[in-house]
């Protein structure tokens, strides 16, 4: 379904597929996107950084994002009105290829002076918790369970659900950063992605939290 949608999107975007008549061995594909596609997954050994700047005197928070490969520094620029105090938050996800490490930085005492200003932010590793859950499902056992970070839209690596019998399955999601809200998403046997909207996953401390959900009506509970 997603491939079909992508194919349709390609044809609906401004662009062209040309085959010059004089050279039948060359095919040129030119595609331009009207908007930058959202990054929903990372490549292994890459990082994704999100910087937000908010304050009571700003109409809405400013957001800037960047991505890069392991070993490279991030450098972002935000432009707004001077004043303060402003709250600066930085979230830095590093995908090892197996897991996502979450590093953060936050300060609330930032006063912006007119003109240029540079701050250097040292990141610290975010504490993590484990989410263990059981899902009831009609029909065949779901294939994958994953978490989507609500603030950035990034999807964390999916895990396989293990069938427990009696139309239920279990899963464990490790290294989930504390202090962030996630949506739990489940891909069923037909490939359809279901989202448990009513139970944002959140924990403020390390440890283990439990999740129970039913794919039949998407009812859920976070314990």
């Amino acid at each position: 379904m997603r491939r079909l949608a992508f194919a349709l999107a390609l044809f609906s975007l401004p662009g062209c597929l040309t085959t010059p008549a004089e050279d039948k061995t060359r095919v040129t594909l030119v595609v331009s996107f009207s908007a930058v596609p959202a990054i929903v997954r990372q490549s292994p050994d890459s990082w994704y950084a999100q910087v937000t700047l908010s304050g009571g005197d700003l109409e809405r928070p400013l957001v800037a994002t960047a991505r890069g490969l392991a070993g490279s520094d991030a450098d972002l620029t935000l432009e707004t009105t001077s004043g303060g105090p402003r709250r600066l938050t930085i979230t830095w996800f590093y995908y090892t290829g197996e897991t996502v490490e979450t590093w953060t930085h936050a300060r609330s005492d930032l006063f912006l002076v007119p003109g240029d200003q540079t701050v250097e932010a040292a990141l610290v590793r975010s504490p993590e918790f484990t989410l263990e859950g059981t899902l009831r499902f009609p029909g065949e056992v779901p294939t994958q369970v994953q978490l989507q970070d609500l603030s950035t839209g990034l999807t964390f690596p999916a895990v396989q659900a293990a069938e427990l019998g009696d139309s239920s399955c279990g899963f464990s999601l490790h290294q989930v950063p504390v202090g962030r809200f996630f949506l739990l998403q489940v891909r069923d046997a037909a490939g359809v992605l279901h989202s448990f909207d009513d139970c944002p996953v959140f924990s403020s401390r390390p440890g283990t939290r439990g999740f129970e959900g039913d794919l039949a009506d998407l009812s859920c509970a976070l314990e």
Partner: protein, 213 residues
């Protein structure tokens, strides 16, 4: 000081609460709201966000008056007298939000503004066009919930690593045409000017993740 006020708040309004320590201020600005018989009022220019037992998030914006009382679960019942309140609540711990002439059980994200005696974002009421009065309920599409949650939580939780923050009282600052600093709304002409632009460059050194990459 704030712990004392919260203790007073909970003692007054939720004596049966099993997790009185579950109330945490995740962000606030301006004078700490005082609680009297469960009634809390925020100052002009101030706001406060509470995270309660890791389940629900309640935000009071400036000039907001609410009355807290014991809810069915860990989250309190909220009666909005005046101002703007935002609530994030999961299905397992819905928040009963009431106002003069209405009530709504909040699941998901909900914003209610009640200035001048008339709610502008009550369910079933015609909604006035405003950037910050988007109504979403548990039955809303995913994208609406995500968008609303994103806006609300980006400011509060993004990258905080669960840092508890209480900012001090401070007015926003701007420069007048002569270049000297003054408070908005406090100048002699009564004309508020936009502060000069600032460009913030954020450098994030690679933090050398574990494993020596």
């Amino acid at each position: 000081m704030f712990g004392f006020l919260l203790g007073l708040l909970l003692t007054t309004t939720a004596p049966d609460s099993k997790e009185p320590s579950g109330w945490r201020v995740v962000l606030s600005r301006g004078a700490t709201p005082a609680a009297r018989f469960g009634r809390v009022t925020t100052a002009p220019g101030g706001f406060v966000k509470w995270l309660i037992a890791d389940r629900c998030l309640i935000t009071l914006e400036a000039r907001t008056e609410v009355v807290f009382s014991t809810g069915t679960g860990v989250c309190p019942r909220v009666h909005l007298v005046e101002g703007t309140v935002r609530v994030v609540a999961p299905a397992t711990d819905p928040v009963d939000l009431t106002w003069s002439g209405g009530a709504h059980r909040v699941i998901g994200v909900f914003t209610l503004a009640f200035p001048g005696g008339r709610p502008v974002d009550a369910p079933g009421e015609p909604k006035e066009p405003a950037p910050d009065t988007t109504l979403s309920t548990g039955a809303s599409p995913v994208r609406q919930l995500q968008t609303r949650l994103g806006v609300l939580l980006r400011e509060t939780f993004s990258g905080s690593g669960d840092t508890v923050v209480q900012t001090g009282a401070a007015g926003s600052m701007c420069l007048d045409s002569g270049g000297s600093a003054g408070d908005v709304g406090n100048n002699q002409t009564g004309i508020t000017q936009m502060p000069p632009a600032a460009r913030l460059r954020v450098r994030i050194p690679y933090p050398r993740p574990e494993g020596g990459r």
